[in-house]
Symmetry: C2
Subunit: 208 residues, 2 copies
């Protein structure tokens, strides 16, 4: 059985929990507190030298890090990753966009403000991240004003990856009210079969 | 014929130039100066709303952004992307690592110091990026001390992606001399057939 090393408030971890649940794949969930340094212990660095969650233990001793790499791995040959070459290329484009232009601004703002309580102390850096995060949301808005999901006509791992931190962007003091296409898309994502919230602590019938 | 929108000093653009050359695929090269804002014009934003190079025009009007998404797209069914599922997952892991933990520190330091000449003005931010960049290099060093290439036994797009900014890290004031495994790996990468330097301005026999 897959084992997922994770931190409950993490949107990156949530992506993997959500996809595993929607694929109906049971998994063992292992919580680590990143604020307490539990992903920087010698033991965890053996699993992921980069010291970050999520990490999926695919088989005993076989570890895969990077949330979006895990999404690609799990979604191969499922409806969550289109088989068409051009559609698949666009999924990849959104996944890298998420990790480069979206997560470092929107997720990091949320982490500093909501988790670490550093809104005042990091005001200048947050202003920069806010501006770059808004730009990323505008790129999404533009796409979602034209089509129901980020790639093609169906829900894919691109939507899972971008939904993870967009839907909690308010916790990083982003105001989503001007982004009407994003709001409608978030409702479509939330109405997908087997959707779970980021706060859910019960997976495959097992409470954690 | 593919058309590549690019900026010559860009490591992200270089990844694509290098792979296309090693695949023997001719392409048209279109230079844009990011410092002069040429990727933020209304015309270019039609091609990539995120306003960044490289962008590959696959067919007229079909644009793919994100250097690593382009690498994946071009390397499908070639020796540059392993077909084995677990090896491929590890390639993806390195590609996301590169865009999250490596490029924003090592490439951005180089851009600020070498291109924009802001070493003094951004000293504090550079100190942070330097620390995070060293950590990324240590993750690479650890892997490359054990094996000749980042994934499996052969040269893949993971090596291309990580080589692009690692080999010019000195331009961002990173000292690679302690990283002996990285140095040996860079030599292996540079000795691959059809290797071109980042400064090369002649592709497929056409000067640009």
């Amino acid at each position: 059985m897959y084992k997922l090393y994770d931190y409950l408030p993490s949107g990156n971890g949530y992506k993997v929990r959500l996809l595993l649940t929607q694929l109906g794949i049971p998994f063992e969930w292992v919580g680590l507190d990143i604020v307490k340094g539990e992903t920087r212990t010698p033991e965890f660095l053996q699993k992921n030298p980069d010291g970050r969650i999520p990490v999926l233990e695919v088989e005993p001793g076989m570890f895969l890090a990077q949330s979006n790499a895990i999404l690609i791995y799990l979604s191969q040959d499922t409806p969550f990753l289109p088989s068409d070459r051009w559609l698949q290329a666009q999924v990849m484009e959104w996944l890298f966009f998420e990790q480069y232009s979206h997560e470092p601004n929107i997720a990091t703002s949320r982490f500093w403000i909501h988790t670490l309580n550093l809104a005042a102390e990091r005001r200048d850096q947050l202003a920069q991240k806010h501006q770059a995060g808004i730009a990323a949301l505008q790129v999404m808005e533009q796409r979602l004003a034209r089509q129901p999901f980020l790639v093609g006509e169906t829900y894919t791992i691109a939507d899972i990856a971008l939904f993870a931190y967009t839907h909690v962007a308010a916790e990083g003091h982003f105001d989503l009210s001007p982004f009407v296409a994003i709001q409608a898309w978030m409702q479509r994502v939330q109405s997908q079969p087997q959707h779970i919230p980021i706060t859910q602590t019960q997976f495959s019938g097992v409470s954690v």
